[in-house]
Structure formats: C-alpha cells, structure tokens
Amino acid sequence: MPSLKDLKNRIASVKATQKITKAMKMVAAAKLRRAQEAAEAARPYAERMTKVLAGLSAANAGNAEAPLLLSGTGKDQVHLLIVATGERGLAGGFNSSIIRLARDHALKLLAQGKTVKILTVGRKGNDILRRTFKDNIVDYVTFREVKQLGFAQADEVAHKVLALYNAGEFDIATLFFARFQSVISQVATASQIIPAKFETTEPATASSALYEYEPSEEEILEDLLPKNVAIQIFRALLENNASFYGAQMSAMDNATRNAGDMINKLTLSYNRQRQAQITKELIEIISGAEAL
C-alpha cells in the first residue's frame, strides 16, 4: 500500500502530464483547422487538373506515342513506393497505419518476385521502414524545418520521382498517405500516380474533341503530366498534414481523459487512506482514554 506522500506525488505527476496533453491537444486543434483549410483550398486546382487530364488522356488512349507518364513503360517489374508520414509521433495510429499498409504492399510485391524501391517522406516513416527495408530505401525527404507546407515542397519530391522515372529506375509508382475523412477518422490510402490513372467520373468527354489546342495536344499533355505528379503529391501531403493533426488531436484528447480518470482514482484512494488514518488515530486516543 503506497503511503499518503507517495499518492500525493503520483497525483501531482499525472496532473502535470494531463496539462501537457491538454496543451498539445489545443495546439493540434488550432493547427488542424489551418491544415484543413489548406487542403480545401488546394482542392479546386487538383479537381480541374484531373478533369482536364482525364479528357486529354481519353483522347490519347489509343495513341502509341503517348508520353511514358501516361502509358507507362509497359512493364511492372520495379515498383516505387512513396511513403508519406509525419515528422513527429504522438499521433495515435497515424504513422503506423500508413507504414503497415506500405509494408504489406511491399512484402506482397517482394513475394511476387518484383523489385521494390522506397522513397520516404517524413522522418517517422523513414525511421521505421529503415529497420525492415534498409536496402530498398532509395531516397528520403524530410520537411522538419518547413513551417508551412507549400507547393514548393511537393515539387521537390516530384522532381526526385520524375528524375528516377526518366532514368528508368522504376515502372510503377504508388503513393501512400492518410486520407483525411474527418477529425476522428483518417484512412491510410495507396494511390498509383505513375503511370497516371484517372477515374473517369463522366462518361468519355465528347467535348474534348471540340477543343482547340495551343500548342499541340501532345505538347500540352507532356507539359501537364509531370505537373499532375506534383499536384498529386501536394494533395497527399496536405491531406496527410490534416490527418496528422486530426490523429494527434484525438490521441491527445484520449490521453487527457485517461489522465483525468487516473487522477480521480488516485484521489479516491488518497482520501480513503487519509480517512483510515484519522479513524485509526481516533481509536488510539479513545482507547487510550478508556484505559485510564
């Protein structure tokens, strides 16, 4: 049975922890709002880009001379996995769920005899994947010092990816990130970015045939496809960022609540013990008086 002093110390320590988690929760909530706004602001661009590209690629579907980014290299031997995670921990299952998805995917590909290369974005993913796939990691990008995620960062990653692709280092690139569904739910997602895949929401856009292209259709397509890679990465980074703060907020909310429960329990046993001690002292005094 811990003494009264021990209990007091423990209550003080749990209270200190609760203060920290509470502060972290509030910081995450404030940052989440900004991250969410940024993710929403980026949406119109990405949506229009996809719409335009979907039309263009549908028109170019049968074209044998279509750019490699659209048609692919025709092989699927070497896979590049771009794993985007957070820079920090303390965000519940955020990092581990992305990493688990990426790892399962990598193991499946390896079992099929494919070559797997990994590019990690974010420190956490790099630290963890390095343990299992030390030889597979080809590059590592971190945005530790970056305060506000901008398009420039996504462009940097895209440059690396495109340089690898143009050098024939891989055939298929898949991007792993957490899609922001709501504050309490983030879904680890894999999406293929090279060769480009479009979900055609509208049935074959007939309007694209009426377009005038300036310069030629092929040139525009060649110009847009690398941009699309950057946009996809940018979008994933923003979604990831929002997901990270969402996950951190709910993790810290849980931690604060748990600390509260713990404090209640400790306070209860502290009070009980104090009461017991008082009773004991009273008995001692009374029995002492009676003995006289």
Partner: protein, 135 residues
Amino acid sequence: MADAFNFELVSPERLLVSEKVTEVVIPATLGEMTVLANHAPTMTTIKPGVVSVKLASGQVNKYVVFGGFADILPTGCTLLAESAVPASELTHATLQKRIETTQGEINHAQSDEHRTKLEQFLAELTHLNGIVMPV
C-alpha cells in the same frame, strides 16, 4: 457592353479569383490572347507573365502568373497557374529570388532538354522582370 463570363484563377495553394468578367488577357505560350465571352473552346499553356482581368464592373485587376495552363470554354475560362500573385503584391526581391533559383537549377540540370526548358523559363522571367518592375 460586352457579355460577362466566369473567370477563375487557381493556384495549387488557393483559388485567387472567381468572378464575372468581360475580358481577360492571357500570356499564352504562343503569344498573348484576349478572351471574351463565347470564345471557342481552347486549351493552352501559359508562360510567366501578366494576366489582366477586366471585371464586369469595369475595374481592371492584374495578376502575375508563373506558368500553367488555361482551359477556355464559351461559358467561362479557368486558368490553372503554377503560382500566381496579384501584381500589386509582387516585389522586385521575390522575382529576383525566383530568377536566382532558376539559375541555380540550370547549373544542376541533368539533361540538355531540361536545361533548354529552364533557360527559356529564365528568359521569360527576366523579361517579366523588365515589364513589371521598371527600376
């Protein structure tokens, strides 16, 4: 009074303009073009330059864009810029910084093709520097 149409200027980071306008001048790769209502559907790439937007109220706003493409329909025009700022917010220093980074990229360019593209971009930026910021 010319007909008004919808014009949207979007950068990856945000939606800058979404308004009814009567006339837009776009710095297309093959030369400047003026878009009015009921323009034939056109898709064009754009080079760094100044986009001038004439609102339905007659007010003219200018934006500086750095590459991208425009999707023009009879009913509207969408300009997807890689990066865009209102001309009033652009300073000499930021432009100079861009020019310097492009120069740095040229030095590190691996393929000739890439280098040519960057050099062209640099030339356009320098040209832009001359128009927007007469010092």
